[in-house]
Amino acid sequence: MNDKSSPRKFSRRKFVQGVSTTIIGSYVLTPGVSKISEKLEAETKEIASGKKPLNLIVNKVRYELMISPETTLAEVLRNELKLTGTKLICNHGECGGCTVLLNGEAIYSCQMLALDAGEKEVTTIEGLLTGEELHPIQKAFVEHDGLQCGYCTPGQIIAAQAILLKNSQPSKEEILTGMSGNLCRCAAYPNILKSVLAAAGYLTEGTNR
């Protein structure tokens, strides 16, 4: 959390970029008598395997990672950070299951290379909570039963958040358009719409059927 306010003088990323060739060279030439620390040795191996450093800010926490360049943002979130709320349903940008916020905009995280998300603010479903307390949109999805199996739900809720971040009073048509990239095979759509309408403040208690 403090990373932004107190930038480190010595960034591992810069260091690695700057001296990687030399290190690899010395490692290869004199493996037995290397004075490189174990940590650097490990990093060197990763560089040799083609991995790249990635500085990722997810749910306001900064992560420093080494990843293969072909890794998608969705893969990093799920496999590296274990933020499994983000779901891979089609992995082709067709269903919206992997929707996350990138600097406040909804994107399909399966369609973005993780390296392209470097230094940007990523918000996943887990990031909407405050401690154990649900976000009002999440509460609306509970109250209005905007889900069945729940697998597409994180993507639906993030898509709704993206709509409401832009416009706190969207029309029904704007909500439908904004949510139309998120497939729900259980087809809980009427209740998803109701949940988003409620989150936007259009519905009051007692309309929960």
Binding site: L83, T84, Q138, Q148, Y151, P190
Partner: protein, 763 residues
């Protein structure tokens, strides 16, 4: 409470299954109407909603174990081929590859009712399994698949049922393409005589397409061994079936296999059986000593894990001028793909309408394509589309209103088994649905509007089983703080199983739902049936009630001992046992449990038997209001009115949601969903969610639901009937009839796409 063992006969999807079941000797009085209950029937929010909206619900795809590795499957690219040779040398050398399983090193494990093997050298459809690679990452496993060298001998193939039935066509298996060599037939009365008595005879032919389940969570399993004990996390609707199939395949006792499923991303019937990938994960895991996770991708989802079979249906109906149906006949052909399954779809025609003379022939035909599996109301969806169309056409022919015609031929009893129904409120549903949609608005002459966009109204009836039955068990643990744990080996597919279980226990013990913790989806818990056939709630809810009622009995018994009073003098209410005579003599659950040495009380409940000599069915009707653009051919569904007799409503919130889902899936089936298979190459063209269209939020019509039933008084002490499948059954038929009412042309094949409308209107 005393129990006994009986022979129980239940309807599971398309078959009657007989098994021994333990049932309570004494049965409880049915609950009264919902307005006299406190928790059941109320719109309680899902108790598992927090996990689902917070992203913390752990699905099988989200399970990570230390050292776990990933498996990917190589599949045949050909519709029919023999695997001549397989060279895995290069793939094995790829860094990170741990194991490659194929016919070369895998034991022979029988599959598809002994018609094939886990790894068979005969590959009978595009997608049949060739090999499985396990590697330290999914990407490496996928890379390795490309390095496997395979030599195929390609063979001629058949892709459609009509082609496959010709004698000169290639045989998918050696023994011919018609399953069992003949159709499933049913005869009641004398159809020839019936048709002779008719004033009008109508014959029509209908076709429906193949559609794919496409649940959001892909099929996947994670297998892990500890010594000789195997644990499998599986995205499944049937934990016990998976356990037993895995045990049989690996030739190990079922007791050594534990299957867990806490959350799943949909199934719709495709996850009712163990997948080949599950067995592969278990085999490889045992071999390499690491947990193995195998998942399929979206393309494989559209090729290899089931579909709703297509149908070609020939119907014939005889009617008298007064509206009496004198005879019905039905011949259907459906392609089950490359391995045995059922494509029959005659049931609705046999039972919905009063008719003494019925004959049906159902052909299930093998083709070189992905095998079908039960899909939400298998058979009924396609059968109802055709039946309800010809019913409308017959009514028109004799100049009768379609609703009046249906009421005229209303069947009060089950005509196949010749027994009464435990309850049937279809008539009320007809009238309620007609009122909601304002039936009188319909065009008296179909297609008579002169506008570019024409409106129409249509209706369709549905019947389904949905009575459930034994065996189903549950264990209840009452804790000192008066909270309760329920353990039951059932599954929640997104249907609300977690929640209704908590509601039923809370209702009996008169404590808040929040005090009930529900644990399901684990074969270590008492047995419950698979979650399919709309049988979960009617099977499981009574077992929960039994366990909770017994707990009440235990509390009274314990209170009697503590208070030194006879049991008959005590009553239970809202967490307190008190004396009927002296009101100050009372004791709370917490005090009772604290005084027991073990600090907890445990009961086991069982589902009571179904009543002898009755049939239990769910009934319903949907009315569709559509607009058809006669210039573009586009159909817009404005509104669906759905009226149902599903016995007791356990939770209107989850019930309505499930009905919405069925209707919208039915709308997709009616208007655009279709698996396209290229007849020249035998390959599937719709292998992703871009080309395979499923409904989006913008396709959802206005939906108004009415439940006309209070509770089924005879089926169980809860009186709930299943609704999961009934929700989808009549939608396509109602939309089809509404389109006819709008344009006056009958579209006899699904999906009803714009090109078919335009062709019908202008050619």
């Amino acid at each position: 409470m005393a129990v006994k063992i009986i022979k129980s006969k239940n309807f599971v999807e398309t078959d009657f299954v007989e098994s021994l079941a333990e049932v309570p000797v004494e049965e409880y009085k049915p609950w009264p109407e919902n307005d006299k209950l406190k928790i059941v029937g109320k719109p309680v929010s899902r108790i598992d909603a927090y996990e689902k909206v917070s992203g913390t619900a752990s699905y099988t795809t989200d399970k990570f174990l230390p050292n776990m590795v990933y498996g990917k499957i190589l599949r045949s690219p050909h519709p029919n081929a023999i695997l001549k040779n397989l060279n895995t040398e290069k793939a094995e050398k790829l860094e990170g590859v741990l194991k490659i399983l194929s016919f070369k090193n895998c034991p022979e494990i029988s599959w598809y009712y002994d018609t094939s093997l886990l790894f068979d050298k005969n590959l009978r459809y595009q997608g049949d399994e060739v090999a499985c690679v396990a590697a330290i990452s999914e990407r490496i496993a996928l890379e390795a698949l490309k390095l496997i060298e395979v030599e195929y001998e390609t063979l001629p193939f058949v892709t459609t049922a009509s082609e496959a039935m010709m004698s000169e066509s290639p045989k998918v298996h050696g023994w011919g393409n018609i399953l069992d060599g003949k159709p499933d037939t049913y005869v009641r009365g004398d159809v020839e005589k019936g048709f002779n008595e008719a004033d009008q005879i109508i014959e029509e032919e209908f076709n429906t397409q193949v559609v794919v389940h496409n649940p959001t969570e892909v099929h996947c399993s994670l297998a892990n061994w500890d010594d000789d004990k195997l644990t499998i996390w599986d995205s499944t609707q049937a934990i016990f079936s998976v356990r037993d199939t895995v045990a049989a395949s690996l030739k190990i006792p079922s007791s050594k296999v534990r299957v867990i499923k806490k959350f799943m991303g949909g199934g719709f019937g495709s996850k009712l059986e163990a997948g080949k990938h599950t067995i592969m994960a278990a085999l490889i895991s045992r071999d390499i000593g690491k947990p193995v996770f195998i998942s399929v991708d979206r393309k494989e989802m559209n090729l290899a894990v089931g579909n709703r079979p297509d149908s070609n249906q020939k119907l014939k109906i005889g009617v008298k001028k007064d509206g009496t149906i004198t005879a019905l006949s039905h011949i259907s052909y459906g392609s089950v793909g490359a391995y045995p399954d059922s494509a029959g779809c005659s049931w609705p025609l046999k039972t919905i309408y009063l008719c003494p003379n019925v004959k049906t022939e159902e052909y299930s035909v093998l083709t070189n394509s992905g095998r079908s599996r039960a899909m939400r109301a298998p058979g009924h969806v396609q059968g109802t589309f055709a039946l309800e169309a010809i019913i409308d056409d017959a009514a028109e022919k004799i100049g009768m209103d379609p609703l009046e015609f249906r009421l005229k031929n209303y069947a009060e009893t089950d005509q196949v088994f010749n027994v009464p129904y435990t309850s049937k409120k279809l008539k009320d549903a007809y009238l309620k649905g007609a009122e909601i949609i304002r039936w009188k608005r319909r065009n008296k002459t179909p297609g008579s509007q002169n506008s570019e966009v024409k409106n129409g109204i249509g209706m369709a009836t549905q019947i389904w089983w949905g009575g459930g039955g034994p065996p189903a068990y549950a264990a209840l643990k009452l804790n000192r703080d008066s909270s309760i744990n329920v353990f039951a080996g059932s599954q929640d597919l997104g249907t609300g199983t977690y929640t209704f279980i908590a509601q039923v226990a809370a209702e009996v013990l008169e404590i808040p739902v929040e005090k009930i913790k529900v644990d399901i989806g684990d074969t270590d818990f008492p047995y419950c049936p698979l979650s399919g056939g709309s049988m979960t709630a009617p099977s499981v809810a009574p077992a929960i009630r039994d366990a909770a009622e017994q707990m009440k009995g235990k509390l009274i018994s314990a209170a009697a001992a503590i208070l030194n009073l006879p049991e008959e003098e005590l009553m239970y209410s809202q967490g307190l046992v008190s004396s009927i005579k002296e009101k100050d003599k009372k004791i709370s659950i917490t005090e009772i449990v604290s005084k027991t040495r073990n600090r907890e009380l445990i009961t086991n409940g069982a589902r009571e038997k179904n009543p002898d000599g009755y049939a239990t069915n769910s009934f319903g009707v949907q009315f569709a209001d559509v607009s058809v653009d006669t210039l573009t051919g586009k159909v817009k569904v404005n509104k669906i009115a759905a009226a149902y007799d599903i016995g007791r409503t356990l939770n209107p919130k989850t019930l309505y949601n499930q009905i919405h889902g069925g209707i919208i899936q039915g709308l997709g089936y009616a208007l655009f969903e279709e698996r396209l298979l290229d007849r020249k190459t035998g390959k599937v063209l719709t292998t992703n969610l871009h080309s395979y269209k499923i409904p989006t939020i913008k396709d959802a019509p206005e939906i108004e639901i009415a439940i006309v039933s209070q509770f089924d008084p005879l089926n169980s002490s809860i009186g709930v009937k299943g609704v999961g499948e009934p929700a989808i059954i009549p939608t396509a038929a109602a939309i089809g009839n509404a389109v006819y009412n709008a344009i006056g042309k009958r579209i006899r094949s699904l999906p009803i796409t714009p090109d078919k409308i335009i062709k019908a209107l202008y050619s």
